[in-house]
């Protein structure tokens, strides 16, 4: 069998296995006939969360562009033997990079890349320690958007790097290809770019199509409609109408809150840089949230996004406005009970017009599509900043992003061109690692995206001050939403002033 035919047959075989058209035994037997043995099984397995899967696109298409690797090979010669270190959250892009893609870079460049994958809180701890000590343990920083202000002076501005080192600049890297809304929302702090957008989890609306058809409803277009639908689903079916990520004291609770707050025309800060979640619109949002909370499963106040996703995956709840990265997982029949039943649309329209950036403080961008993106930047303390810069360009270039998106389980790309790439579109079907939600993600980024304020204290405020008090509110520790919001205002303004 010619190599081309063999690859096509393998791709087709994998596709059939992914779609559950053949069982595991048949897959392995056929793969064995191709001389691939047990190792081929890795091509077809499907697993939950974070994309344990191999995409449908043909295997030969999922290798880095030879031209890109040729550039890496050429430009990296002086740095061969260098070791780069990066600490990152366990996100689909980082997992794809670490599991599969970095080997191509290492082979071409002779640069060794060590990626330390950790939960987000631990990444922050490592990063803070590295910055405070100026040790340069890590050459590249994975920067959650809520930390951008804190680390802005400790990383290189990629525009300056690109201009200052023309001999190291990747041809056609095209910095303008990054979605402008993401650049604004994730990377820009004051006059600097804190790296370039690396990944983009963002709130979209996901709902059970079968339940909506059963009740004769269509996807909600307004907040009011969404609430009514959630109430109706709870009343007329065995499912809960909505779900949430409302664990007390956890960042996820703050994320949920901002979506309702922004959607009601409110904002976290006003133009005077004072907390404004306790104003009239903020309290209206709380009243809405209280109503929606009644349509959520019991235990929702103990969940982060993990439990929220599980409540949909297990068929307990019918809708959620949350991170789009969940969607490919929901389509995985080996992991969930809702494969092929979920649909993705833009979040419902806000109750009233959103506040403008000028009407808020600290660069806050109100929008119902809460974004939780992150950026990648070269540390100023790095002992090999040039090698790190080459790696960073390779990781964030169009070709690598396509591979990250397809291998990483349908994670949202941060470059515009990636959404239209045939290899990404090839996965636009029901199944694990689907990309059929990505058009919604792109539209949400362009039209609905909300970004948290940029201030050095934001990591503390969003991870502790606000969610702890919101948690106390839902635990019944406050007499009213007004009392809770006033308490948050006092705490937040106290921290910001100091």
């Amino acid at each position: 069998m010619r190599d081309h035919d063999r690859k096509l047959f393998l791709a087709s075989l994998t596709d059939r296995y992914v779609k559950r058209q053949i069982d595991r035994r048949s897959f392995l037997r056929s793969a064995g006939q191709l001389g691939l043995g047990l190792g081929a099984f890795g091509l077809g397995v499907t697993r939950p969360f974070g994309g344990h899967f191999t995409p449908v696109a043909h295997a030969q298409d999922l290798r880095p562009d030879p031209d890109v690797l040729a550039w890496v090979r050429e430009v990296s010669k002086p740095f061969a033997g260098t070791t780069l270190k990066l600490a990152t959250e366990s996100t689909p892009p980082s997992n794809a990079l670490n599991s599969q893609l970095k080997q191509y870079f290492e082979e071409a460049s002779g640069i060794k890349v060590e990626i330390e994958v950790l939960p987000l809180e631990q990444v922050l701890q490592k990063l803070t320690l590295d910055i405070a000590s100026q040790l340069g343990t890590y050459d590249l920083y994975y920067i959650d958007q809520s930390w951008a202000a804190s680390v802005s002076r400790d990383v290189f501005d990629p525009r300056e790097q690109y201009a200052a080192k023309p001999d190291l600049a990747m041809p056609n890297w095209n910095i303008d290809d990054f979605l402008p809304a993401l650049v604004d929302g994730i990377c820009v702090y004051e006059d600097r770019w804190v790296g370039v957008p690396y990944d983009i989890p963002i709130f979209i609306m996901m709902y059970r199509r079968d339940i909506y058809e059963q009740l004769g409803m269509s996807a909600p277009t307004t907040f009011e409609e969404y609430l009514r639908q959630a109430q109706r689903i709870s009343a007329e079916t065995d499912l809960y109408g909505a779900t949430g990520q409302m664990k007390s004291g956890h960042y996820s609770l703050e994320c949920d809150w901002t979506a309702w707050l922004w959607g009601h025309g409110g904002s976290i800060f006003n133009a005077d840089r004072k907390f404004s979640g306790n104003d009239e619109l903020g309290l209206e949002a709380m009243a809405y949230w209280d109503q929606l909370y009644k349509t959520m499963p019991p235990g929702v106040t103990t969940w982060t996004w993990d439990g929220q996703g599980q409540s949909i995956a297990q068929g307990v709840a019918a809708t959620m406005m949350s991170w789009g990265e969940f969607f490919p997982y929901f389509d995985d029949p080996s992991a969930t009970k809702v494969s092929g039943l979920m649909e993705a649309v833009r979040c419902p329209a806000p109750v009233r017009s959103l506040r403008t950036v000028e009407e808020t403080g600290f660069g806050e961008i109100p929008g119902v599509g809460h974004q939780g993106g992150s950026s990648l930047a070269v540390s100023m303390n790095s002992k090999a900043p040039d090698a790190a810069w080459i790696f960073m360009q390779w990781v964030t270039c169009q070709d690598t992003q396509v591979l990250i998106t397809t291998l990483g389980g349908g994670t949202g790309p941060t470059r515009n061109s990636v959404y239209d790439d045939p290899r990404v579109i090839a996965n636009n079907r029901v199944g694990p690692g689907t990309t059929r939600h990505l058009n919604v993600v792109r539209e949400t980024i362009a039209k609905d995206m909300g970004s948290e304020p940029d201030l050095p204290e934001w990591a503390e405020l969003s991870n502790d001050t606000i969610p702890v008090r919101l948690g106390k509110y839902f635990a019944g520790d406050y007499g009213s939403a007004k009392e809770a919001m006033d308490d948050i205002a006092k705490a937040v303004d106290g921290i910001v002033r100091s």
């Binding site: 091509l43 939950p48 270190k85 599969q100 701890q125």
Partner: protein, 291 residues
């Protein structure tokens, strides 16, 4: 005292209930490792009947054991090479335990048998080091390790875990030595034996149970320690508690994989305890009766 049949039955039921309470979480955790993802959060929970899969074990250990190639994209960033991580934990656990017990035994014997000025203050000082929260020293240790080249090395973590366990080990061993009558040492001294000979030939064999109990505690503390293992390691070395946390991803937790690693990680500790069990029971009861 004679027990009536009904009392005996009730006692047995109570005993089995107590065992069940302690055993059920382990049972649930281990069975979770054998469940496919859709069963783990099934409603109602699949406690007794569920589809069995070895997939979680394949994913967690498959790459490092060579039967699953590095083709998949897995949460944990391809850090599913957990067999080496288990080895890391074993090396650190065993060597730090050996070091802590060796030093603690000598120190405890001296504190128990030799009168010197400020002995009680010394014991209190040893105890006081346990009162300091580890997080208070984690960052200074980070700098020390960085400067001395111990960062991200087995030796570094062995030293830290041994130091961390030393106070507890010294105090435990001292209590065991205190329970061995000093008259035995004195008789041997009169017969011309040296201190070292008495320690090695007479007291140490009598304290074997105590050493076993101390070693088990030291090993378990090292096996489960998280903060230092996180702060003082990077990529070349990771212990089980630290790598377990990598299953917590941006889009959820890979509970099946975490359970698979957790279930396997119980085995070395279990074997270690089995090996020293005979001495352990003696050690745990040593000193329960005063002469």
């Amino acid at each position: 005292m004679r027990w009536s049949r009904s009392t005996s039955v009730l006692r047995q039921i109570a005993a089995w209930l107590a065992v069940g309470v302690f055993f059920f979480p382990i049972f649930f955790w281990v069975t979770t490792a054998f469940k496919p993802a859709y069963e783990i959060f099934n409603q109602p929970p699949s406690v007794w009947t569920f589809d069995v899969t070895l997939r979680n074990f394949e994913e967690v250990f498959g790459i490092s054991l060579g039967f699953l190639r590095q083709q998949e994209v897995l949460p944990g960033g391809g850090n599913f090479y957990m067999a080496p991580r288990l080895l890391d934990s074993l090396i650190v656990g065993l060597f730090s335990t050996a070091l802590a017990v060796a030093v603690a035994t000598l120190a405890a014997y001296a504190l128990s048998r030799m009168a010197f000025r400020g002995r009680h203050h010394f014991v209190n000082w040893v105890l006081s080091t346990r009162m300091m929260p580890p997080v208070a020293v984690a960052i200074p240790m980070f700098f020390i390790f960085r400067d001395t080249g111990l960062m991200d090395t087995h030796l570094g973590l062995i030293l830290v875990h041994a130091l961390m366990n030393l106070p507890l080990a010294v105090l435990l061993m001292k209590s065991f030595f205190d329970d061995i009558p000093a008259e035995i040492d004195e008789s041997a001294l009169i017969d011309g034996a040296s201190r070292w000979l008495i320690f090695r030939r007479i007291v140490l064999p009598m304290a074997k149970g105590g050493i076993a109990a101390t070693a088990v505690l030291c090993f378990i503390f090292s096996w489960t320690e998280f903060l230092f293992a996180l702060t003082l390691t990077q990529t070349s070395l990771k212990t089980v508690p630290v790598v377990s946390s990598t299953f917590v991803t941006s889009t959820g937790t890979a509970w099946g994989n975490m359970a698979a690693l957790g279930a396997v990680a119980m085995v070395p500790a279990f074997i270690f305890i089995l090996l020293v069990q005979r001495h352990l029971v003696r050690g745990l009861t040593l000193g329960s009766l005063k002469q």
